[in-house]
Amino acid sequence: MDIQDLIIDDRDRGIFRVHRSCMTSFDLFRRERELIFNRCWIYLGHESEVENPGDYRRRTVAGRPLFFIRSKDGRVRVFLNSCPHRGAMVCRRNAGNAKTLQCFYHAWTFSTSGELIGVPGREAYGPHFKRSEHGLKEPPRVESYRGFYFVSFNPKVEDLVTYLAGARDYLDLVVDQAEEGMRVISGSNKYAISANWKLLAENSLDGYHLIPTHRTYVDYMSGLGTDDSGDTLASRPPGAGRALGNGHCVSENISRNGRPIARWHPVFGEEAKPRIARVRRRLVKKYGEERAYRMADTSRNLLIYPNLLIMDFVAISIRYIEPLAPDRMDVTAWHLVPREESGAALATRLDSYLTFLGPGGFATPDDVEVLESCQTGFRASGNAWSDISRGMLKADPGTADELQMRGFWRQWHANMQGLSQANAQDGQPGGGER
């Protein structure tokens, strides 16, 4: 099947279909690696994960073992986790603190800024051996935006802020909630799903599945005093699904449940009310009513194309998807919290996170199940099409519509054809730019 035929995108008739081989084909998986993951900016980690000089974290990013470390001069540096000498992994723990880094194979030693500073038996090498040529290698590009570090294996990639396009404002809406900046707390939720990675990107933005798939969560919340008993798709605020350019998308809604930052809910307890009111006043004073309202009362599931999600609803989760095979992905989730929160405020937020999120939460296991169910179903129907046309002819699609998923797929389809940019909006003509 030709790449250009994998998606049917008829914007006049409101038909949008994705061929299921996009989720099952090894050839397409290899092509994604090349044309998407080797060309885009890919999330690596948050600056707060390496607070002190020498702190490091190990990551696998688009199949490559990397690590990042705060060097003695205070800069965050990213290295390929492979000794320049013979290739062994230099960083062999997931996290820690190091004054220097030593490869355990021949004991070559590197500074925290990557220079080769120790070679046992140095005198046995010839005069043309230069230590300066054997430092730890960095990915071609590393940039950060407001604490979020990204890497790119494409030396010619546009700068990160340009790449983020309309997603930048949504990242600001998350980060600006904190008075003293954000930090990732200790502990991460690591799990895997036997399904194609794009299914989780879709699912994370999909407001249509919430009530049918997550009924037990809705029931639990209504049992705690929110009146969600009449919660149906028709009774929900429509919210907005948006395509933000470069494949980034958001599903933005008026929150029905609490928001730990500044929207009270019975589940937080009476004692939380004064603090939440205080934070709200601070946000209004600093950002004005409208922006404070968006921070406090609306939630957003933001996809940073291709494989990062910032889930800002019951709490803020950073969800990173690492594709392993057409039918397999690793998922890591971290919890982002305002630095100024501690004690009761932090406990409330932690508690709120766990109701919905995480592999032990009341909703995430259902998503794992449903994605695996789709992937298994594709074995019977791999030659069929998935329909993603909901709300396609609407002027203002809501979160239960699917513009935010079409925006993702349109960028994917453009990239897979070697184009850099899709026309992502339903109202635009199809096609893309070189």
Binding site: G187, D330, D366
Partner: protein
Amino acid sequence: MTDNDRFALRASVEEFLFREAVLLDDWRLEEWVDLFTDDARYVVPSTDLPEGDPTRDLVFINDDIVRLRARAARLNSRHSHRENPRSRTRRFVSNVRVEETDDGQLSVSANVLVYRFRSGEGAPYVGTIDYILRRDGGDLRIAYRRAVLDLEDLSRHGAVSIIF
């Protein structure tokens, strides 16, 4: 405490843990929740931070009695999709260690292996469970249950969809 007292105490705790294992394997979850005190807590730390503190760190599960009851109700619901149809589980509880604390409670640790089978897959949850048990008349109640997984991640399971 004589050796005989110690053996008797451990035997009674083991009896209690074996009974708990049966309730969980038989999916009698409401009876299982009834083993807990009203101020109880059930914690499962993240796999990368076994020492994780749920008031400070990201964990998998941190239930008070209200959420624990809700968890049992959810697992009994046909809308708990990861466990509908239910998995088969078999629990093995061993290496039970018991210490009596100064306030008369029992601090207990046990090695636990739970095999879970479903949808053609079978994978073990392995770890240690630490308990604080409280005497209640002639019976024991769970005041604290911290289940620490030895797994490096949940790559073979996708979720903690059963009670570990």
